[in-house]
């Protein structure tokens, strides 16, 4: 690019030299540099930023980015058995249609008048989530499950005014790291053990740790390791008896068939909406929800936006707006509850479309379908010599396979599966000391029986090959 040549960029209409001249004159300066009079000379850049040559034409830009993206191999091209907090579920065409609408995509922070649509759509998101969670309050989405769990725990800390939280030790290390950082130094996190056979929370360990300084017990259902925690009510009863709260993380896609946490004593539920009409995006399209009963002591502790419904000056007209805005940091800065800002609203709108399409029957059908598929996969996979199911508890869509009797490492097995066009389960080696040579498999509606049978055949072939690193 000739630096002397004028530079008119399609994204910058007033880069046209004549227009710029006219505006500079209007403002009363000769040069745009004069507008920066407040920036001291020694802080000014004396050279142009050293960035790659710009791809000024849209065509060149498209070619360039597509060439880079072509280096990726997606789960549409291969078959994926990966889960662990992000999973491939079917995204209905309507979800993409709506979330790509310019009116939603490019809106931000308009008033409930000219932006009535987003207020209503997100109110409906809250309302639809409330039905599957069987709770009366749900927030406008936060970043992800990790943030939702962290905030739920901090809410519990403020409600009980206690300094410690007990967390099931079967959480993913990824999520636990988020929670730990978010709570430190205000809340102490203590882990509660699990039964090595079932994975279920050890109630005796919970009992011994439930001291009067415990704000809440946090566990997930289905757990990161896939099994369904059946003792939810017992955990809640134990917690409540000591004045603690029960906080439960949940995969909302399971709630067509599984009981929601509110029905086994949870005070706060949280989780992620990625699976509800949002693509995986390399783990980048997450959205966290928090849900509670409609009690002032809970509602006033949410940091998030809560959109409520109201009437307007016109008969029969619905309007929407912020409920209890004064609790937010927008209103009170550091005196607000935690902080609020841009998070994951558009994914909430996709989730609203998803749940509206699915309806009660769709959620039940999907839950059943996933249960059938995952059970079939467990059955076929554990028929392979040396491959075992690590926990005997009932799974939902994920389960842990133990390969330690096969003589091969998970890394080695997954390399071999990749050559067969399969993404094998997530390697848990290194995540949990007791799960060396174990892998977390995820089976959703996206895999067919033929895919599972292919996985079984590929595993058999790989394991037959013998040898291997340990």
């Amino acid at each position: 690019m000739d630096p002397k040549k004028s530079f008119v960029h399609p994204y910058i209409p007033n880069s046209v030299p004549e227009v710029k001249e006219m505006m500079l004159r209007e403002v009363g300066v000769k040069d745009a540099d004069e507008l920066y009079e407040d920036i001291p000379e020694e802080l000014r850049m004396k050279r142009e930023l050293r960035l790659p040559r710009p791809l000024l034409s849209e065509l060149e830009l498209k070619r360039h980015v597509e060439r880079i993206l072509a280096k990726n191999t997606s789960c549409e091209e291969l078959v994926s058995f990966l889960g662990g907090g992000c999973a491939q579920h079917y995204v209905p065409a309507l979800c993409d249609e709506i979330s790509h609408r310019a009116e939603f995509l490019t809106a931000y922070a308009g008033e409930p008048y000219e932006d009535a649509g987003r207020f209503q759509a997100l109110f409906e998101y809250e309302s639809l989530m409330a039905e599957i969670l069987d709770f009366d309050v749900v927030n406008v989405p936060t970043y992800d499950w990790g943030q939702a769990a962290s905030t739920s725990i901090r809410m519990a800390g403020r409600i009980t005014k206690r300094p410690k939280v007990l967390v099931a030790d079967t959480l993913s290390p990824d999520r636990l790291a988020v929670i730990r950082n978010y709570c430190q130094p205000v809340l102490e996190i203590e882990l509660v053990g699990h039964d090595p056979k079932t994975g279920l929370l050890r109630l005796d360990d919970l009992r011994s740790r439930l001291t009067p300084d415990v704000a809440a017990v946090y566990f997930e259902n289905p757990s990161y390791l896939g099994f369904i925690e059946t003792q939810g009510q017992d955990i809640a009863d134990l917690a409540h008896a000591k004045g603690s709260l029960s906080v439960v993380g949940v995969d909302p896609i399971s709630l067509g068939v599984l009981k929601p946490p509110s029905q086994y004593g949870a005070d706060i539920a949280c989780g992620d909406i990625q699976g509800l009409g949002n693509h995986m995006y390399f783990g980048g399209a997450l959205g966290g929800f928090i849900a509670t009963r409609d009690e002032e002591k809970f509602v006033m502790e949410y940091p998030s936006r809560l959109f409520g419904i109201a009437r307007t000056a016109a008969e029969g007209e619905w309007g929407f707006g912020d409920v209890a805005y004064s609790r937010t940091s927008f209103d009170g800065r550091e005196k607000g509850k935690e902080f609020v800002g841009t998070a994951a609203a558009l994914y909430g709108i996709s989730a609203a479309v998803y749940l509206s399409l699915m309806g009660p029957q769709g959620m039940r059908d999907l839950g059943r379908h996933i249960l059938q598929k995952s059970r079939y996969a467990v059955k076929r996979l554990t028929e392979i010599a040396g491959v075992g199911l690590r926990f005997e508890s009932s799974p939902f869509k994920e389960f842990v396979l133990d390969f330690s009797k096969t003589g091969k490492s998970v890394a080695e097995i997954n390399r071999s599966l990749l050559a067969h066009g399969l993404f094998g389960g997530k390697d848990l080696t290194g995540e949990f000391a007791e799960l060396r040579n174990c892998a977390l498999y995820c089976v959703t509606e996206m895999v067919t029986q033929a895919d599972i049978d292919r996985l079984v055949a590929a595993l058999k072939e790989c394991l037959k090959a013998g040898g291997g690193e340990r």
Partner: protein
Amino acid sequence: MKIPKDSRLRNFHQAKWDEEVIFELSNKGERGILVPEAEPEIQAVVGDGISSLPPNMVRAAPPALPEIGQMRVLKHFLRLSQENLGADLNIDVGQGTCTVKYNPKINEVLASSKKASALHPCQDESTVQGALQIMYELDCFFREISGLDRFTLQCSSGSHAILTMASIVRKHHEMRGEGGRRDEIITTIFSHPSDAAAAAVKGYKIITIYHQPDGLPDIEALKEAVSNRTAGLFITNPEDTGIYNPRIAEFTRIVHQAGGLCGYDQANANGILGITRAREAGFDMCFFNLHKTFGTPHGCGGPASAALGVTSELVEYLPVPLVEYDGTRYFLNYDLPKSIGKVRSFYGAFPVILKAYAWIMSLGGRGLKEVAQVAVLNNNYLLKKITAIKGAASPFKTGKHRIEQVRYSWEDLYKETGITTHQIACRMADFGFHLWSSHHPFIVPQPFSVEPTESYSKAELDEYLDGLRHVAEEARKEPETVMNAPHRSVVHKIDESTFDNPTKWAVTWRAYLKKRGRPPK
């Protein structure tokens, strides 16, 4: 009020569908989408699945979701979208501090690729080299743009980056044995509320520096505030007033001398790209909001992303993993023993990251500077014209230039007519405009915040100015029209009285039904 012939104002009316709440559309038995049945052999082998669940965990009553045919669901949400005014449709300069600019459609096309959307975060690294390359190169771009040494793309928003900076500050002082003593973060009143709020989440006491009559933060107050309890300074520059603090390097020096770290809130850096950098101003950390300065859409409030950068001394505290490149392959590096851990699951908001990468690639170094200069020119053009409107003013440093935005005041108009900035904003909606007041507290009385960015043509800026002029004039001539606005937007004046009343507020439809009963059909 009649619109004069030479005005650019439109005879606008927003789409108004009087659309039902989605639950009101339910008809028992209707289906929006069907789920495939598992293959017959699977059903034969494992049965219905549900009966294999632990009995105490089976959901008894199905969730009371609405039952609606597919086309009606589509129509419902399309209508809601029409009742929303995205930046693609309006001249979205009235949301100061937020840098609402053009979000190129090509970037949406690129991000819709299955090669981006259908990637699982735990795929073998060999199958995500493209994704990692984009993250790595974007890190390198930001190093150059800021002068700092390393970036993480894990933060999900500007506020989230502030939380992460506070986490790094805490870790830094803990490693030096001063974690307990250094318990104060200093910020300024014209920095974003999250600079105070997100730092407080990490247990910090917040000291807020106010401004002097010229609008600049009071350096004497800073000198008094720093001590051996100072953990750090979180500050924007230019602040929400659009005034660049020329003594910023002195600010960072004062805090460094007291032993604190300096974090630069560059959520909005649109006016100074290629003009001045965090490094030269003495900052240890800075962050950029990709959904503001770097051209990615705001999505009604996310997904978003902030790139957080640090000097080499602080790299070891960044959240894991970092994306590395060894000359032949890109990989994720978890080997940072002193890391604060994680602030988000996986690696960051990848679709946002990808769009910001494409945006920078379309502009290059010279283009970024052009963005900044035109944004600043547009802002100063508006400044001149808005302050010429009777009743509008730009408090502080009158007559001087501003960087990318200005916090104006309708105080004079309010004194004259009793019309508030909120009422003016409601009336602006009648012409297809959005106008925002300001964060709380309202330091500037009757505030409004305008930031034109580089995206709007002079003709569009003139149209917006006509809107402001017209409504200000109306406030004098027919104040009722302004007080009762909006008239041609989606809904009429909302009865906000229920929103702070626990017995009446309703955050969900089921809560509304419980409290207020089923509305008549």
